[in-house]
C-alpha cells in the first residue's frame, strides 16, 4: 500500500520563513496540510538528538496520522537551536485498519521500509511511502526489554507490574481502559518505556476504539495538540497547572498507589 507523507521543519526556502510543511506527497491537500501544521511542534523539552517521539492523531474522520519527531541539525537562522523535524505519514481508514488501528505497528513497518526519517537532502516533493499491506510479525518481548549496563538484556516493562496492580477492587488495567474509552485525557509521568506502555494500552482496547485514541510519547503539552494520552518524563509546576486546567488527569507511575483517589 502507498501512504501519503510530509515533513514539517524550519527552513528559509518555503513560502514563509520558519516552521512549515516543507515537503509533502501529492495526496495531501491544502486543508490536510493546514491540519498537519497545527499539530506539529516547533520545540521539544530536551535537546537530546538520540531521542525521538512518536505521535498519533486523527486528522479527520477519514485520515489517521502517525508522526515521528526528532532533532535534525542546526536551525537555519543560526540562533542556536537545533531544528525540530517531524516526519508524517497519513493513512486512510482502510490502510490504518489493515494495521489493526495500531500506530506503533505502522511506525515499525515504516521505519523498516526507510520511512519516517529525515532524507539526506530535503526535497520539496515526496513520493508516497510504500508499506506492506499487513504489519510485520513482531515479538513484543524483544522490543520491551532494555539492555542493562553490562550488555545483557533484562526486562524493564514497568507496565508488567503496573498492569497487575489493583486499586481498591478494580485492576489498574481496567481503570485505564475505562478512562480511555470514556474519553478521559491522561498524562503519564515517569514511564521508563512509553512505547511498551502505549502498546499495552492499545492492545487492551477493542480495535475500533484505537482510532480515536490520540497519543504522544513525549511532545510538550500544548493547547494546539489536545492528545488524549501524553507521556512525560517529568512535569514542572507550570505544566502540571496547565494540564489541570485542560482537565488532563496526571498519573505519576513512579509513586505507589498512583491511581488512588482517581
Amino acid at each position: 500500500m502507498h501512504v501519503q507523507q510530509a515533513i514539517f521543519t524550519s527552513t528559509d526556502r518555503g513560502q514563509i520563513k520558519g516552521y512549515q510543511l516543507v515537503a509533502m506527497s501529492e495526496g495531501i491537500d491544502r486543508n490536510l496540510a493546514h491540519e498537519l501544521g497545527g499539530w506539529s511542534p516547533s520545540q521539544l523539552d530536551n535537546d537530546d538528538s538520540a531521542q525521538w517521539i512518536l505521535s498519533y492523531y486523527a486528522a479527520s474522520e477519514e485520515r489517521a496520522v502517525v508522526a515521528r519527531t526528532f532533532l535534525g541539525g542546526a536551525e537555519y537562522s543560526g540562533r542556536g537551536n537545533q531544528q525540530v523535524v517531524t516526519s508524517i505519514l497519513v493513512l486512510d481508514n482502510g490502510q490504518f485498519s489493515a494495521y489493526e488501528n495500531n500506530a506503533l505497528s505502522v511506525c515499525r513497518a515504516a521505519l523498516t521500509m526507510g520511512g519516517l526519517r529525515l532524507p539526506a537532502r530535503l526535497p520539496s516533493r515526496l513520493e508516497p511511502l510504500e508499506l506492506p499491506d499487513f504489519p510485520f510479525p513482531f515479538s513484543r518481548n524483544a522490543a520491551d526489554d532494555e539492555r542493562a549496563d553490562d550488555g545483557s538484556w533484562s526486562p524493564s516493562r514497568l507496565t508488567a507490574g503496573l498492569w497487575s496492580e489493583q486499586v481498591g477492587d478494580v485492576p489498574v488495567e481496567q481503570r485505564f481502559v475505562s478512562a480511555l474509552l470514556s474519553g478521559q485525557r491522561l498524562a503519564i509521568v515517569g514511564a521508563r518505556n512509553a512505547w511498551a506502555t502505549m502498546e499495552d494500552m492499545l492492545l487492551s482496547l477493542p480495535c475500533e476504539n484505537r482510532r480515536r485514541l490520540s497519543f504522544t510519547t513525549g511532545l510538550p503539552p500544548s493547547l494546539k495538540r489536545p492528545f488524549q494520552v501524553h507521556f512525560l518524563l517529568h512535569v514542572s509546576p507550570q505544566v502540571s497547572q496547565f494540564l489541570k486546567s485542560e482537565a488532563v488527569t496526571l498519573i505519576d507511575v513512579r509513586t505507589p498507589h498512583i491511581l488512588s483517589g482517581q
Binding site: S10, D12, Q15, I16, K17, G18, Y19, Q20, H34, G37, G38, P41, S42, Q43, G73, A74, E75, S77, G78, R79, G80, N81, Q82, P220, S222, L223, K224, Q241, F242, K244, S245, E246
Partner: protein
C-alpha cells in the same frame, strides 16, 4: 445586610471571550488568563501595540531590549512592568545578550509566547500621562500562517484589530539582498493591518484617524544604508510596501534599528553555526514607540 463579593470579570482583555477561573489561557486567543486579570484589575485604558514581522526579523530581541530601555528611561518616557511575568521577556533577552547569544527562536505554539504588559509614563504638554502597553511576542510563522489562512492563530487577528499602533519589523539585510520576497511579505502584513482597521479603499479622513504604522528595518548594524535614511531605503528596496503604505495609511513612518554593534558566526565541533553578538549597541529601538505614542 448581606455582604456580597465583588463581581469578577471573566472576560479576556484581548478578545473579550469568556473564560473559566481555572483556565490558564483564553480558549479563543490563548492570551494568558493571569495577564487578562492583571490588565483588567489595574483598570484604565490599555492599548495594544502589535509588533509584526517575518520569522528571524528580530521581534524578540527588539521587544526585550525595548522593555529594558524603557525600564531605565528618563521620567518623560519611562515604562514599568505591570506584572511580574511581564518581566520574563525582558529578563530572558537581556540575559541572552549578556552571554553573547541571541534568543532562541520563538515557538509557533501560541501558549508558549511571551506577553508584555508595561505601564508607560509620558510627558505631555498638559502634564504627564500614562498608558498601558500590552503586546505578545508573536512567532513569525504564526503571523504568516494567520494572514494566509485565518483561524489557527486567532490572537494575531484580535491583537492587530485592537492595536492603537503597529510596527512591521523587516530584516534590513534580507530586504537589501534577497529581492522582492521581503517586500511582498511586508506588503501582505500591511494589507492585513489595513483590512482589520477598515482602511482599504477608505477616504482620506478615515485614513488619518487610523492607527500609526511604523516600519522598522532591523539589524541595521550590518546594513548602514538603512540607518542613513530609512525612508529612502524603503522607497528603493521595498517599493511595493512603500507605495501601498503611502496610499493606505494616514500615519506611516520608517525607522531603522539595531541591537548588536557587531556580530559574527561561531561553528561548534559538529560544524553547526550560530550567530553571536560581539557587543550590544542599541540604536533606534525606542523611537518607533515614541512616535506611535506621541501620536
Amino acid at each position: 445586610m448581606i455582604a456580597t463579593s465583588p463581581a469578577v470579570d471573566h472576560h479576556c482583555a484581548c478578545c473579550a471571550g469568556s473564560y473559566e477561573p481555572y483556565d490558564e489561557y483564553c480558549s479563543k486567543c490563548q492570551m494568558p488568563v493571569s495577564l487578562s486579570q492583571s490588565v483588567i484589575a489595574q483598570g484604565g485604558g490599555h492599548g495594544f501595540i502589535s509588533v509584526l514581522g517575518a520569522s528571524n526579523a528580530g521581534k524578540t530581541v527588539y521587544l526585550g531590549l525595548l522593555l529594558d530601555i524603557l525600564s531605565k528611561g528618563p521620567a518623560d518616557f519611562k515604562g514599568t512592568a505591570a506584572s511580574s511575568f511581564a518581566i520574563e521577556l525582558q529578563e530572558y533577552v537581556v540575559n541572552q545578550l549578556e552571554r553573547r547569544a541571541f534568543p532562541e527562536k520563538t515557538p509557533t505554539e501560541a501558549d508558549a509566547w511571551q506577553w508584555l504588559h508595561y505601564k508607560l509614563t509620558l510627558a505631555g504638554k498638559r502634564g504627564p500621562r500614562t498608558a498601558d502597553l500590552v503586546s505578545p511576542d508573536f512567532a513569525g510563522e504564526a503571523i504568516a500562517t494567520e494572514i494566509s489562512r485565518p483561524g489557527l492563530y486567532p490572537a494575531v487577528a484580535h491583537v492587530v484589530s485592537r492595536s492603537r499602533g503597529l510596527m512591521i519589523l523587516c530584516d534590513s539585510v534580507r530586504v537589501r539582498d534577497e529581492g522582492a520576497g521581503e517586500d511582498l511579505f511586508a506588503m501582505k502584513v500591511a494589507t492585513y493591518i489595513a483590512e482589520h482597521h477598515q482602511l482599504l479603499g477608505s477616504p482620506t479622513a478615515k485614513r488619518a484617524s487610523g492607527p500609526g504604522l511604523a516600519v522598522v528595518f532591523t539589524k541595521c548594524d550590518i546594513c548602514p544604508e538603512a540607518a542613513h535614511d530609512p525612508t529612502a531605503f524603503a522607497e528603493n528596496n521595498t517599493p511595493r510596501l512603500f507605495d501601498f503604505c503611502r496610499q493606505t495609511f494616514g500615519k506611516i513612518k520608517y525607522f531603522a534599528a539595531g541591537v548588536a554593534g557587531s556580530t559574527g558566526l561561531i561553528a561548534d565541533a559538529r560544524g553547526l553555526q550560530t550567530c553571536v553578538p560581539f557587543h550590544i549597541q542599541p540604536y533606534g529601538v525606542i523611537e518607533p514607540l515614541k512616535w506611535i505614542l506621541g501620536d
